[in-house]
């Protein structure tokens, strides 16, 4: 059969509908129809605005139209999206053409917000098209009647696949898809994705052991990206970008609608505050981030859809989501951190395929000027970063195994084979699978004391089945892989709830502290039970929270590009003058880091010896490195006092000077020192908590289930301590260590760096601080000092430092 795209693949009624709107089907839409006709699974990569979602549904619509009333009923097409809002929005967008073409097709969405009655009806009378999320799929698969429910399934459409693959949600999705293939072997998988660095890898994820064709929707027009050259002096350090906000405001004023992306909630608050201070024209500028109350966020989104807003200052909450049509400009304030995220954000501008998106990158400090330049060039060259395939989480596997048992008794051999068809679990060995299964059944402890409390029992045929209906209840309350940080609600004194903030942030506040939240300056009045009470503090400058770091680490590929800028004279020529001068000064006083080498500078200051290195591996890896270096220096009698890490560099200071650098940076620090440190690390405890919740060891905390006076909390830290002492090789601790290696500690990346620079350390002993070290030195002490006095302290030491670094003699 000829699978080449031609108009004949389009059903007449759909063709007429296209024509009625003055549209022509795009080549990739026709290609999807052709591939699906041949019964193939397909991955479509295309930029936003390319009619991608419709392309994903065309094969299903055609089949439904062709079958007409002959179809026996049952669920025909399952659509999975990473966002609830997207599932609902896509349903609305489908209902319109379905109604206009008068097709007898029923489309329904199902999310956590769908009323119980409708969910039950959906199970009894499945719609033709069901639009939902990976978590809801897991739930549907856990019902006893799942085999019947999915028997007639023909298509699974996964939207924004790139946003799911490579995460624990992606693990859950892959396992769900593997089960779907067992229940409906002829169903086609259709993946929709933004353009990604490694399309073969994503296709592999979607294929799950089968085969997948790739349809390329083209790269779309090259975006137009500009790096802002601020009219003011570019700061040496800091992340709030205040110096450039007047320029940002002018950009907003000159454009119709802008999205202003920042990296952290605190940045969003500060940028929003300052833009309003500059807002002489009273432009409608709104704020959107994950800590605001849901109602407030919905209000902003609705205003955006109506076209009432000129700008929204937002965090990653708006990276994905419904199509807003008319966004004219995307402004990225602060470092982009990674190319794929940046491209995703830029794609939010102008959802019309044939016009270029326009973006403005606004660096916060000098290093970020380099990063923005490198990122802008890379995006224009069509480069993207990818993380490589992910190994599936054992905690997610435990959750899935329990879900499978809740649905049907299973044979361990069969389930192992099925799980292995999910891409993230392809390398899973049988021994590990059995250990996870054992954990699900009895806790999997060497001390076999829980045999009689089994959650899973073996029946006469040796199949695993749940011990009682309570297991199903337990599973359904805990399904999903998103674990929220402990959050504290923020309420106005005798007023409404404004939103919620991470508990660790509230922990730092003392009564009387002021901070920016929900677009206002608030005064912390104290804790009432588990609610933080605040009052409005009009006319006061907020004490900027010590919340400097971004959530996303600098991607490996972008880090490489930044390193390349440092030796690329052509690229440097396009940098602003002040930054060029800064680099020239560094060349004079020390040397610029070269790719493939690690530059280490040493200099005395204030009676201490400073050691500054520039690995460019991201803050998390640098923090881990700092922890390990100080341990080693301690043992060598160098008396280290502390360290500070940024995305680009690490500084350690000590009483005595470190001289044996190759030994200091030897990779073997990742051995015993790391183990010893990990055991005490709070990051490990936090990681364990998430693993324990996903794996079903402890219950998820549900919203509204608040701590009240006489209840007490059960601490996952206590469990971690006991388990670590008594059974360090337990499967959950293995899962925790695996998460830590790529997550909060980024050990994997640190290891690669140490191997790479072995024998290639450039050591510069200087008589004083170098220009490149100044930004990092300015971070020292930032965390502990508060408020206005901090600014004074900072500016004083900054001037002294800069003077010292730039002095010629």
């Amino acid at each position: 059969m000829d699978a080449g795209p031609h108009r004949g693949d389009l059903p007449e009624v759909v063709g007429a509908w296209f024509a009625g709107r003055g549209w022509r089907p795009r080549p990739h839409q026709l290609a999807m129809l052709a591939k699906a006709r041949a019964g193939n699974s397909v991955l479509l990569t295309a930029p936003t605005g390319g009619g991608k979602t419709l392309a994903g549904f065309l094969p299903a619509l055609r089949e439904l139209i062709e079958a007409g009333t002959k179809r026996p009923g049952g669920l025909h097409t399952l659509y999975l999206s990473p966002l609830k809002a997207l599932a609902v929005d896509v349903r609305r967008n489908l209902e319109q053409p379905i109604a206009e073409m008068a097709l007898p097709i029923r489309a329904e969405s199902r999310t956590g917000d769908t009323p119980q009655s409708r969910r039950q009806r959906q199970r009894r009378h499945p719609p033709d098209l069901l639009l939902t999320t990976p978590e809801q799929l897991a739930l549907l698969l856990s019902y006893v009647d799942a085999p019947r429910y999915f028997r007639d399934l023909r298509f699974v459409v996964v939207d924004e696949l790139h946003a799911l693959a490579g995460s624990k949600r992606g693990d859950l999705l892959a396992l769900g898809l593997a089960r779907l293939s067992a229940l409906a072997p002829t169903a086609c998988r259709i993946g929709l994705s933004a353009t990604v660095a490694d399309r073969a890898e994503l296709a592999d994820f979607l294929a799950g052991g089968g085969s997948v064709d790739v349809v390329d929707g083209g790269p779309g027009p090259r975006p137009e990206i500009e790096v802002l050259t601020a009219s003011a002096r570019v700061p040496w350090a800091g992340h709030m970008t205040l110096h450039a906000l007047a320029d940002v405001y002018r950009a907003i004023r000159a454009n119709g609608t802008s999205l202003v992306f920042v990296n952290t909630r605190a940045q969003a608050e500060v940028v929003f505050q300052h833009l309003w201070r500059l807002n002489d024209d009273n432009l409608a500028i709104a704020l959107h981030h994950g800590s605001l109350s849901v109602e407030q966020r919905r209000k902003v989104e609705a205003a955006m859809v109506r076209g009432d807003l000129r700008a929204v200052v937002c965090t990653s909450t708006l990276d994905l989501g419904i199509d807003w049509g008319a966004v004219d400009l995307v402004i990225q304030v602060g470092a982009p951190k990674g190319l794929s995220r940046l491209v995703q954000r830029i794609g939010r501008a102008n959802h019309r395929l044939d016009e270029p998106s326009r973006a403005l990158l606004v660096p916060s400090n000098r290093f970020e000027v380099l990063e923005c330049r490198a990122a802008a060039d890379a995006v224009v060259e069509g480069e993207l970063d990818g993380d490589g395939p992910r190994r599936g989480g054992l905690d997610v596997l435990a959750q899935h195994i329990l879900g499978m048992a809740v649905s049907q008794a299973f044979d361990a051999d069969e389930l192992f084979a099925e799980v292995g068809r999910a891409r993230p679990y392809r390398e899973l060995d049988r021994q590990t699978f059995d250990a996870v299964l054992d954990f699900v059944a009895t806790g999997g402890y060497a001390l076999r004391r829980y045999e009689r409390y089994r959650r899973l029992r073996r029946d006469d045929a040796g199949r695993f089945r749940v011990a009682g209906p309570w297991v199903a209840r337990q599973y359904r309350l805990n399904v999903g892989t998103i674990v929220q940080e402990p959050m504290i609600r923020v309420r106005l004194l005798r007023g409404r709830v404004l939103g919620q903030i991470e508990e660790w942030f509230i922990d730092q506040l003392v009564v009387g502290d002021t901070f920016a939240f929900a677009g206002e300056i608030l005064r912390f009045e104290g804790m009432r039970e588990t609610v933080a009470t605040v009052s409005r503090a009009a006319g006061v400058e907020a004490k900027v929270p010590s919340y400097y770091g971004g959530k996303f680490p600098l991607s490996t590929y972008l880090a490489e590009r930044v390193r390349a800028v440092l030796v690329d004279e052509e690229a440097q020529a396009r940098l602003p003058g002040q930054v060029r001068d800064w680099l020239a000064m560094q060349r004079r006083r020390s040397v610029l880091p070269r790719p493939g080498e690690l530059l280490v500078e040493g200099f005395p200051r204030g009676g201490k010896h400073y050691l500054v290195c520039y690995p460019f591996e991201g803050r998390l890896a640098h923090q881990t490195l700092g922890m390990l270096l100080t341990r080693r220096m301690e043992r060598a009698g160098l008396r280290p006092f502390g360290f500070v890490a940024s995305e680009y560099a690490l500084a350690v200071w000590s009483l005595r000077e470190a001289t044996e650098l190759p030994a200091l940076f030897d990779e073997d620090m990742l051995g015993d020192d790391l183990e010893a440190w990990l055991d005490e690390s709070n990051l490990m405890k936090r990681t364990f908590r998430n693993v324990a919740i996903i794996a079903g060891l402890i219950d998820r905390r549900h919203p509204g289930q608040e701590k009240t006076g006489r209840q007490v909390t059960f601490s996952s830290d206590l469990i971690y301590d006991v388990l670590r002492r008594h059974e360090p090789e337990h499967i959950l601790l293995r899962a925790t260590r695996a998460d830590a290696a790529t997550g909060l500690l980024d050990i994997a990346r640190l290891g690669q760096m140490l191997r790479r620079v072995r024998g290639r350390i450039t050591h510069r002993r200087l008589d004083r601080v170098s220009p490149l070290a100044v930004p990092l030195m300015l971070e020292i002490g930032r965390e502990a000092v508060h408020g206005d006095s901090m600014e004074e302290l900072l500016s004083e030491s900054a001037e002294a430092l800069i003077e010292e670094a730039t002095r010629l003699l």
């Binding site: 806790g443 999997g444 730092q508 006489r710 830290d717």
Partner: protein
């Protein structure tokens, strides 16, 4: 710590020692809490009893008391005796050998499991001190209780540090929970007000000793990286 004129020694494990009487008091061991959760399908590591008894052994080895009082809720529930391992029972027998051992009744364990070393009592009175599980409605001077699982937070160098603690105001005292899996309740919670109507001191457990903080120095404990558990019928603190 002084309680109604009696000088007490506070041990870093969370045990209280009365040198004048060679008396050791521990509260809320909650032995077999892990297996109680396991019986409901939450497989917490089954090592909590062993770990709790190891800490108790450490306190007894260091202080060599003539008498040991376990201040109630020594066992997490009435069925704990059916679940506890034989080696743990042997450890308890070893510890009790050569000394008087009292199991004060708690709300989780009105009766200790049968066949265990030691005597079951409702309370222990000694000189000016009365030891019982829960505070009475109008607590008399000299009352020493457990039950409330006190913990307290202080701010040090801008960071909040939360620990289990002893609480005392010179007349009365509350002991921290001793059990490895026992949770905690903020001493600033209203539940403590009837026992300590005015100022009090919290003695936070450190690695090698306890650290005294007057109540005005304490800050509220927040949810503290913890996971809330729905309480079983017994309730956690009553």
């Amino acid at each position: 710590m002084l309680i109604n004129g009696a000088r007490m020694l506070l041990h870093a494990t969370g045990a209280m020692f009365w040198p004048a009487q060679a008396l050791l008091v521990v509260a809320d061991l909650h032995l077999e809490k892990g297996s109680a959760y396991a019986a409901r399908g939450r497989f917490l590591p089954p090592y909590d009893t062993a770990q709790t008894l190891r800490r108790l052994t450490r306190a007894i080895d260091e202080l060599d008391p003539a008498m040991v009082v376990c201040l109630g809720d020594s066992f997490h529930d009435a069925e704990a005796g059916g679940r506890i391992g034989s080696s743990d029972i042997a450890t308890i027998a070893d510890l009790a050998r050569g000394r008087r051992w009292f199991w004060v009744a708690g709300n989780h364990d009105p009766e200790p499991p049968p066949g265990l070393a030691g005597e079951a009592v409702d309370e222990v009175r000694l000189e000016q001190i009365v030891l019982r599980h829960q505070p009475t409605e109008r607590p008399p001077a000299g009352e020493v209780v457990g039950h409330l699982h006190p913990k307290a937070a202080v701010r040090l160098h801008g960071r909040r540090l939360t620990r289990r603690c002893f609480v005392g105001d010179g007349l009365r005292a509350v002991l921290p929970a001793f059990g490895a899996y026992a949770g905690g309740l903020d001493v600033l919670d209203p539940a403590f007000a009837p026992v300590f109507p005015a100022a009090f001191d919290a003695y936070l457990l450190g690695r090698d000793g306890v650290h005294r903080y007057p109540s005005r120095r304490l800050v509220p404990v927040t949810a503290d990286d913890s996971v809330l558990h729905k309480l079983g019928n017994a309730g956690e603190t009553g």
